[in-house]
Structures are given as structure tokens and as C-alpha cells.
Symmetry: C2
Subunit: 143 residues, 2 copies
């Protein structure tokens, strides 16, 4: 579904939303430990999210990462798009170069409906609600 990089990216963003409340900077080391991801690989992903402008980084001692906007203003679609591109949102289910309703693949109409629903879910799910579940202890970033 999502690439490993994207999975890590989403988890990292959720964790930062939860741990970085009040503007506290969250370090790469802490993030990787909490989401159980390889440190250096996670660094690459956070760098990318910073370049994309949905994450802010601060170098130096006591530096770290913080969300570039309020947690309830950042949705999953932004993160997925930044890391995996938009194939998730408009790619053909059978891998044709582009999805096109005028020359559709055999599964197009069944697939497009469902892809639409996924896009909708990603767009309407924000980091605030996801972080809330974490804080309440009803959801988890690893197991």
C-alpha cells in the first residue's frame, strides 16, 4: 500500500504531533526509538518532509523537529503525497501509465471508486486526532 518510507514518515509525524505539543522540539533519536525505525533512514525521510515544508527542523544542541502547522491542519494526504507522490491518488490499479476514464483498464471503474475513498480518508484524517489516540493509550506506533 504505502512504501516503508511512507509508513515511517506517517508514524514520525504522528509521534511529533503527540510529543511536540507546546512547541517542544523532538529529536531524531527520540523519534526513531519511539516508532522503532532505523535512525539514518528515518533521518532521510524527515529531511524530505522538511524540504516539503510540512516539518520544521532546528540544527544544533537541543535541536530537533516540530510540525510546520497545527496538528489539526496537517492531514495524512499531505504526508503520503510528499513521500510516495500522487500515484496513490491517481495511479492506475493495473499499472497503466496513467489512469484515464476515457481509455480505462478493465478494473478502472471498480478501482477508481475505492481509490477515491482512500483519498478521502487520507484528506480528512489529521494528525491531531491520531495523536490523541496515542496519548490516551488506545493506539500504538509499534508492537
Amino acid at each position: 500500500m504505502f512504501s516503508k518510507a511512507c509508513e515511517y514518515g506517517i508514524k514520525a509525524m504522528i509521534y511529533i504531533a503527540q510529543a511536540g505539543e507546546g512547541g517542544r522540539l523532538v529529536s531524531l533519536k527520540e523519534i526513531a526509538a519511539e516508532i522503532q525505525s532505523p535512525v539514518a533512514f528515518t533521518a532521510k525521510i524527515l529531511q524530505l518532509l522538511s524540504r516539503e515544508g510540512i516539518l520544521l527542523s532546528t540544527k544544533g544542541a537541543f535541536g530537533g523537529f516540530q510540525l510546520a502547522a497545527a496538528a489539526d491542519k496537517i492531514n495524512l494526504a499531505e504526508i503520503v503525497k510528499a513521500i510516495d507522490g500522487d500515484r496513490v491518488f491517481n495511479g492506475c490499479g493495473l499499472g497503466l501509465k496513467e489512469c484515464n476514464a476515457l481509455k480505462p483498464c478493465p478494473v478502472h471503474f471498480k478501482f477508481a471508486a475505492f481509490r477515491e475513498q482512500l483519498a478521502d480518508m487520507l484528506q480528512t484524517t489529521n494528525l491531531h486526532e491520531l495523536a490523541a489516540g496515542l496519548k490516551k493509550g488506545v493506539s500504538f506506533l509499534y508492537r
Copy 2:
């Protein structure tokens, strides 16, 4: 979403359903040409589908492949499961080792609903209806 192998596998099965009506054997060469896939790689996938029992192969001159059951009795879920395994049907959206509603990841309840819909779509879509669209010329296997 699906692996390249799975995309080729689905397209191949749809093509065989359409071109193999009346029990005619369809050759690897023809299949690869019609779905525009690399011949040898496609061979591996068809071998796998044969081992899985949803495709029948016949060696020798005028040999080829045919569906192991009537086209309307083979659904997409079987093909996907044979090639990509069942992670599509029960894998965690954030890559946790297993999806578990008792210790869910933050996106579990949003994701599981949608995964359910995908599984449903795959289970209720059979090769007969997909091949019909092809034959009518309203859908295409490449572009």
C-alpha cells in the same frame, strides 16, 4: 498498491479469460504481447499461478494456458492472494507486524474499513465481467 508481478498476473488472467474462450490454449508469447509485459517475467508469474491451481498449462507445440475454472468462478482476490499473499487483505496500514484491533495502530479503524471494501471489491469481481469489457472494446490492457 499491487506489485508489478500482480498487475501482470491480473492482466494475463483477464486476457486468457477473453482469448481462451471455448478452451482454446493461449500461449505465453501471445499473452505477453497483448498485455505488453516482459515475456520471461510473465512466464514466472504464469508458472506460479499454475502451481497455485488457478491456471492450467499445457506443454509442447500448440500448448499454452487456460483458466482452471470458468471465468465467472475466478475472482480477483484469488489472483492477488496467489501472487502478493494476503497482506493486502489483512496487513497493517502502517506496517505493524500484524493488524490487531486490540492493539491497533493510530490509523487502524479508518484503514481497516477501507481495506475491507477493497477485499470486497476483489472478491466480487470475476474474470468474466472484466473480459467482457475487453471484448466490447470499452476497456484496455495497455495504452
